[in-house]
């Protein structure tokens, strides 16, 4: 275990050195991510400029509603676990797009290190600082600009359990990527499957209640990105959905286990490529 922490540190250091070699590339990457986020926030702003709040109605009755600031908060919060996964474990994307298809996975198998860990940590994706930066700015800004009565609801002690749950939320992202990337061991390429599953997180950056039951079930239990975003955020804001915290831990553990199983089985089915 100690060796693995050390290796991870070394890989990060290697990538930072690489960064110094390719500064422009890094800058462009980070600016790109900030721009993408800026456009999304702008869209939210435009929508909320014409509506007072996002409302959830049952039979014409407003059951729940979220102000612009609250939606902004949830959205900003969602970028934090997403950004951490992006920062530390981005290298998994390569698996489904080219690593397996081109036979580059050979390298990982000839090293005395857990192959999953090696792939996972080999790259340190500094572009993700764009995500994290925007996420934190949004959370802080939305709290500061909230009407006093809503802001008064926030009990900052709730931050402790939420902070505890964040690593598990990260694990949800990483496990979904791991399991879908490992499909490539059989199909050679699975990048688009990873992409498709990963993109459902976009649903999860908004209040889960607004969706129908099918979507809600998917983003809570199957590709449970709502557990990484809406639920912890709304708990922090209003103290709602306390149940979601242990569920996040449980679901992420199950997902982690499944993804490891798929990876291990996949490794045995790996066929390399002619050379």
């Amino acid at each position: 275990m100690r060796k693995y922490f050390k290796l991870h540190r070394i890989f990060i250091a290697q990538d930072l050195k690489k960064l110094m070699e390719y500064k422009v590339d890094f800058l462009m990457g980070a600016i790109g991510f900030v721009l993408v986020q800026a456009v999304k926030i702008l869209t939210l702003g435009i929508i909320f400029a014409s509506i007072p709040a996002l409302a959830y109605k049952v039979n014409g009755q407003v059951v729940d509603s979220w102000t612009f600031n609250e939606v902004l908060f949830i959205y900003g919060f969602s970028l934090i676990p997403k950004g951490i996964d992006h920062l530390l474990f981005d290298n998994l994307w390569g698996m489904g797009y080219w690593v397996v298809a081109k036979g580059d996975f050979d390298k990982y198998l000839t090293r005395p290190v857990n192959s999953w860990f090696y792939v996972l940590t080999e790259k340190f994706c500094v572009d993700a600082f764009g995500d994290l930066f925007v996420g934190i700015v949004l959370v802080v800004y939305s709290v500061l600009s909230m009407p006093a009565d809503i802001a008064a609801n926030i009990n900052w002690f709730r931050l402790i359990p939420v902070a505890f749950v964040i690593p598990f939320a990260v694990m949800i992202y990483t496990s979904v990527k791991t399991a879908t990337a490992a499909i490539s061991f059989w199909t050679k390429r699975s990048g688009h499957i990873t992409h498709m599953c990963y993109m459902t997180n976009e649903f999860a950056s908004y209040p889960a209640k607004i969706y129908n039951n099918v979507v809600k079930t998917i983003i809570t239990y199957i590709l449970p990105f709502a557990l990484t975003a809406y639920y912890p955020a709304i708990y922090l804001l209003r103290g709602e959905s306390v149940w979601s915290l242990p569920v996040t831990i449980g679901v992420s553990a199950v997902l982690f286990f499944i993804s490891q199983l798929v990876w291990k089985l996949g490794e045995k089915a790996y066929e390399s490529a002619g050379s």
């Binding site: 060796k3 198998l109 857990n114 089915a269």
Partner: protein, 341 residues
């Protein structure tokens, strides 16, 4: 004896499922809805043993299954049938412990950190393989001496020449002092001098550290200079296993007759195929202006017969007879598919 060998391979097989597709887009669509598979036996029951400290040449034409065998030996692929045991390990079981004892170089792809100075690669590998500081110093000094890394160890890997990169790659595979070194085409694409350097280094490493070396190559000079023994595979099966000299004896009935004609037109008079009973593979005639090169099988016509026939028909300058080189022998073996030994 077998159980003590460094590498023991028994009835090793690898089957790949291959989709059968009819040509064109229509075929692709058809295959999408009604996929049909064919089982291809890339490696079909190969067995051999390698003793500690040997250098084995592992050869065969493209697609013969060499790389697939190497990949099973290195734990990259899981065998479909049979097994291999290297220094007491089954590669796919407890892979992490096993790979600490082997070094792998794939000539076609590098394992160095492309964007960073070469030295950085070695520093990372030191951690990956848990090499102690003391061993690292010692090992680097040795590798430096053998492979001459000094000149480029601070350069980014992407700026290295192919020859330098290959030396660097071999050093990377040897940093942890493995018991077995797998070299998959280590001289591919290199110039003569660079090839020579690599070969010398391999020899030295084998001698100094007693490293067992498995070498695949298409360059038969590699084999002649480095390996006493070769294992040849074709179509997934072993077709030859033994000393290089045995191969020469067994298949080396080919001789090469070279001479220069006084008159180019005399060429027509050299009707070897009418005089002797050569099959297509037994005789090869090459001419370049007045120069003539005749390769023939001594089982059909002896050197003496060939010489006297030639001299009785034409006037020549400078006549010489030579053993066919190993390349010729192997070309014949590949072509004939060989007989399983």
């Amino acid at each position: 004896m077998e159980n003590n060998s460094m590498i023991h391979v028994e009835n090793l097989q690898k089957h790949f499922k291959k989709a059968i597709k009819e040509p064109g887009l229509k075929g692709s669509i058809k295959a999408l809805f009604n996929p049909k598979y064919d089982v291809v036996k890339a490696v079909d029951g190969i067995s051999f043993d390698v003793e500690a400290g040997e250098i084995i040449g592992f050869i065969g034409p493209n697609g013969a299954g060499k790389s697939t065998v190497i990949k099973m030996l290195t734990g990259i692929l899981t065998p479909s049938e049979g097994f291999c045991r290297i220094n007491g390990h089954i590669p796919t079981e407890n892979r992490k412990a096993y790979v600490k004892e082997i070094g792998v170089v794939f000539g076609q792809r590098t394992q160095l950190w492309w964007d960073l100075a070469l030295r950085e690669t070695y520093m990372v590998l030191k951690e990956i393989y848990d090499v102690s500081d003391e061993d690292y110093e010692k090992r680097m000094a040795f590798l430096n001496e053998v492979l001459d890394l000094e000149d480029f160890i601070t350069s980014p890997v992407r700026t290295l020449s192919l020859g330098q990169r290959m030396r660097a790659d071999i050093a990377a595979a040897l940093l942890h002092n493995p018991k077995v070194l797998f070299l998959d085409e280590p001289t591919v694409g290199l110039d003569v001098v660079a090839k020579d350097n690599i070969r010398k280094a391999i020899q030295l490493i084998n001698k100094e550290s007693g490293t067992t070396v498995i070498l695949t190559t298409h360059d038969l000079e590699d084999i002649e200079l480095l390996c006493k023994r070769i294992v040849m595979v074709d179509k997934g099966k072993k077709v030859f296993d033994g000393e290089l000299s045995t191969l020469r004896q067994q298949y080396g009935q080919m001789r090469e007759l070279t001479f220069e004609l006084n008159k180019e037109a005399d060429m027509e008079k050299l009707t070897y195929d009418q005089k002797f009973n050569f099959a297509e593979d037994d005789l090869k005639l090459e001419t370049k202006g007045n120069e003539v090169k005749v390769r023939f099988n001594t089982d059909i016509a002896s050197v003496e017969e060939m010489l006297s026939f030639t001299l009785s028909k034409v006037h020549v300058k400078d006549i010489s007879v030579k053993d066919a080189d190993i390349e010729e022998i192997i070309r014949r073996l590949y072509k004939g598919g060989g007989e399983a030994v």
